[in-house]
Subunit: 374 residues, 2 copies
């Protein structure tokens, strides 16, 4: 697992918490997930020993790292309202951990859709299933077994996310559990909606900056930051005005986080990001960066961008040329400015309506999301 | 929507119920689903007008027919314990309706996996999305947009199933709701497990009768009959012995239902089944019928079976030859005998521990499942 600035800040922020074990929230979440997945892997094997590959790839998809961002935001949403030793914190942490099962489903299905073969430096789920096919020497195409396995695994992880959430929610304060459930429900519909809009944007020829921002709003701002925060705050009984502050913060931080991700995907140092340089360009990833460059480009420049973006065979020189255009059109600077604006907006959203320790933690997280280098 | 013997029996059985509107349970379930899907389609459109195709294909996937078998069994599980006018029946019917969202997900993802282009005589979801791509004149491959759309739609339907179930379960008797949730959770893990075993069976070369039966057990017996029945019975507070009877009935009826389906897929009259003759053979569907034929075949016959099964180009003569082998090896008769055994076993499982009207309804459903012609 790659240790990024965000992970380090998440860890540092959480280590400050009284009552957390060493390793903080990420370890607590990992413990909950390990217990759940072990139990369910056992259930699968009790149904049939042939389900072992499904159980094993499930374990890898859930337990191999990740920044645990969504549980972190859910926790600090809760802590915006309640002190660290509040009863119900255990249930909240389990509910927060269930968001990682949802995320594991999203990544497994995303990698399948995008035919992305690695995830966090490891083989993607469909690649693992394909390798199992090859190892077993089965007739037919390993790729199609890989796809089938990943499709089914994603479905399983989504079901498990809901099972774990529902079980945890039963331990939340009864008056507030329905509010947390509502955020959980919206989050699941919105992430699919965001993915669908993203797929649409990739299909259509050109797309506007507004369309790019709409995708970010659903796929990252709401899904990664705002809904988890609001879920935690709702579980804690946070009032409407507090939740409006958290929502504003979440949308701003989520956007800053995604825009930084987009810049790192094009201009980041592969030695730091762990991603081959130019991959986002070769994949034709639709970003605000690209939309702004398209809008500002001359017709000749636009032709170069169109020809290069999404071209899997793009050479190193081609990547360098596209990078040059993304810079010279002013798109890169515009995105950098937008990140600063969003980070500032995020910081300004939070008042002393929040508990001070939560406000401090959220400000640090906003800073890390906007300014990480990997 | 095709009106089969099973649908007719389901309707007749449910029409007997006091308190049911005309059209019986199927109409109640359709009403609940329509309300839920309308509300959620509106939510999607409030996020972005571009989500219209997702909302429209969702509506088609959920509301275009189906036998509503799972809600029927869930209802009669409940009625095994409680009278028709019991408070909580509305909540149970909503929980039962949510199983159709789960089934809609399973069908959308199944059709994608199997590249089956029609479902209930209508275009499958991936075909509808592909057609949308073509209509819009987008660049690129309509098929890959179709796959992406169907993958995401299935995820959405699976989320919605759980959302609707959780909401309904809050209206069930509080002491019994966790038991119903447990059945719902097991059902979702088991159906994915069954699908995975089915995919495995299709990958491996030969497979045994035992393997075929293991797939039936998870994919049909538990998923279609036993878990819905047990969900209803648990929600009603049915005791352990009653639930054991229902489980035994469910496993037997589910197997009889699936074996009849397998026979109809090969020997059924296309004018009655609505499915082209020989399609199951051309798809290489792995069934107990085929496993038994393989085991009893001479080496020459086995070579003919292997060459023909799963051959999409198989001619009419080829189909006739395979049908002949499935009959002459004794496999067809063996499956017919097994259906009778299972139907008898199902009938024998039910005692006067059940309310008499539920016992009558379940006996009729068992008979219809085993002896339908389409």
């Amino acid at each position: 697992m790659q240790v990024s600035v965000v992970s380090a800040v998440v860890a540092a922020v959480n280590d400050l918490e009284p009552g957390m074990p060493a390793g903080g929230l990420a370890d607590r979440v990992a413990d909950e997930l390990t217990r759940f997945v072990d139990q369910h892997a056992e259930l699968l094997l009790s149904l049939s020993a042939d389900l072992r590959p499904l159980a094993e790839v499930a374990r890898a998809a859930v337990l191999d790292g990740g920044k645990r961002l969504r549980p972190t935001f859910a926790y600090w949403g809760w802590r915006s309202v309640l002190p660290a030793d509040e009863p119900g914190t255990d249930a909240l942490l389990r509910a927060a951990a269930s968001l990682e099962l949802l995320q594991a489903c999203a990544l497994v299905h995303d990698d399948l859709l995008d035919a992305s073969d690695t995830r966090r430096g490891q083989p993607a789920a469909h690649v693992r299933f394909g390798a199992h096919h090859t190892d077993q020497g089965w007739p037919g195409e390993p790729g199609s077994f890989g796809s089938a396995g990943a499709l089914l695994l994603g479905d399983l992880l989504l079901s498990w996310a809901e099972e774990m959430f529902a079980d945890a929610a039963a331990g939340l304060p009864a008056a507030h559990a329905p509010g947390a459930r509502r955020e959980f429900d919206l989050m699941r519909t919105e992430v699919v909606a965001g993915q669908f809009l993203d797929v649409l944007a990739q299909r259509r020829g050109d797309y506007s900056a507004d369309e790019a921002v709409a995708v970010i709003r659903l796929k990252t701002s709401k899904y990664t930051v705002a809904r988890p925060l609001l879920l935690g705050a709702a579980a804690a009984g946070g009032d409407q005005r507090l939740r409006a502050e958290l929502a504003a913060y979440g949308h701003a931080v989520g956007e800053a986080f995604q825009l930084r991700d987009d810049l790192l995907g094009v201009f980041g140092d592969p030695a730091e990001t762990g991603k081959p340089a130019g991959d986002d360009l070769r994949e034709g990833k639709r970003t605000l960066l690209v939309a702004l460059a398209m809008a500002a480009a001359t017709p000749d420049q636009r032709a170069v961008l169109r020809a290069g973006l999404g071209n899997r065979q793009l050479t190193e020189e081609g990547v360098t040329e596209l990078r040059g255009l993304l810079t010279s059109t002013g798109a890169r600077d515009a995105v950098e400015r937008r990140i600063v604006e969003r980070a500032t907006e995020a910081a300004a959203s939070l008042t002393d309506r929040l508990r001070p320790e939560a406000r401090t933690a959220l400000l640090e997280l906003a800073e890390a999301a906007a300014h990480r280098r990997f």
